[in-house]
Symmetry: C2
Subunit: 192 residues, 2 copies
DNA sequence: CCCCTTATAGAACATTTTGTTGCGAATCCT
DNA sequence: AGGATTCGCAACAAAATGTTCTATAAGGGG
């Protein structure tokens, strides 16, 4: 009973948003306009205006599309050090290599004045936090964690530092750094 | 021998940049244009164009002006827990209450495509990092630190988490949270 | 396979924003 | 007081931003 979507709609939608993401990466939010996307894709301006009457909507859709994370199955079979290295290694790769790492700052900035963009971030973040939390809870189940370890703080720390380094401070994320980071967290989390 | 600056120059400069900062806070980088600043200040467009032929320069100047931090004398008389609470409390206030907290995300985003903006961030960050580092080094001098404590990682953690919470995750920074944060860091840093 | 619906490209247009230039008036510096 | 500089303003030119219409093409249902 559901009428299938006109393939022309999804086609223009996809090509337009892909172009928008590309522009976003190379030149920043400022440059994402109906005109620019039209020029890059061949999709006519009038069509773009029909799809996204407001430029903000177009940008937000591009954000959402770019933010869609590769689903990561949490590794929770322990030990904690291994699980964390695994998970944070993936996060690190995502920040280094995928669109998200380049676009995230733009979304952050947009979130300051736009609630929709804020939602995109919140969704993305809470998902990542939940994944890391699962790792800690599994370690707790196995009885690896020290008495009274500040789990919430550790989860936050695990994620904060790589994001800070990459997005705010512009510092590199490599395996050597990751090793030290995980060591530090484990020093606090594990039984002595 | 140094020729004093024409007061008219500094006057227009200041009013223009203050307006630019205000626009930046309320509506984001996108909205900072010669036209908008002119409308808000009464300074004529032609004058603004004479001062900043390129809009990017205007925005960067606004960034720099907004990023100028209140100089904070480092508290390094110990003990570490007290010093850290003091320093991070100030950082927290700055993020919560000053222009910087609202504008930082915009600068981050601009930094993705603009090297000048990147410089603004780097300057600001390295100064803050240095301040926190001084706190740790003083504690080390006093012999408070545990053997082999990962000082660099701790410095990074101390600053990363508040920035992450405020700018990336949009979580609140309050004194209760701060207490836990400092506790966690001290648990790793101090002798048992 | 044909007909009806829907989406698109393109052009033509109005509107707004963005730069540029020249000049008289006001302000500053010496 | 006099010469230089800066300002505001108005008149422009150029480009970007929206809007609307029409012919064409593509899809979907019967």
């Amino acid at each position: 009973m559901k009428k299938s979507e006109d393939p022309r709609l999804v086609a223009t939608r996809n090509t337009a948003l892909d172009a928008a993401i590309e522009i976003l990466r190379m030149e920043g939010v400022l440059a994402v306009t109906h005109g620019a996307v039209s020029a890059k894709t061949g999709v006519s301006r009038s069509t773009l205006y029909r799809h996204w009457p407001d430029i903000v909507q177009l940008r937000n859709d591009a954000f959402k599309r770019a933010a869609t994370p590769p689903k990561i199955a949490a590794k929770t079979n322990g030990p904690l050090h291994a699980d964390l290295s695994w998970m944070l290694g993936i996060l690190m790769s995502a920040l280094n290599e995928t669109q998200w790492g380049q676009i995230a700052p733009q979304v952050m900035a947009a979130a300051a004045t736009d609630d929709d963009a804020k939602l995109v971030i919140n969704d993305f973040m809470s998902e990542r936090m939940a994944t890391v939390r699962a790792v800690f809870e599994a370690a707790n189940q196995r009885g690896e964690l020290a008495e009274g370890a500040p789990i919430e703080g550790l989860i936050e720390t695990a994620i904060s530092v790589p994001y800070f380094r990459k997005i705010i401070a512009g510092l590199p994320l490599d395996h050597e750094w990751l090793e030290g980071h995980v060591d530090m967290i484990c020093a606090l989390a594990l039984k002595k």
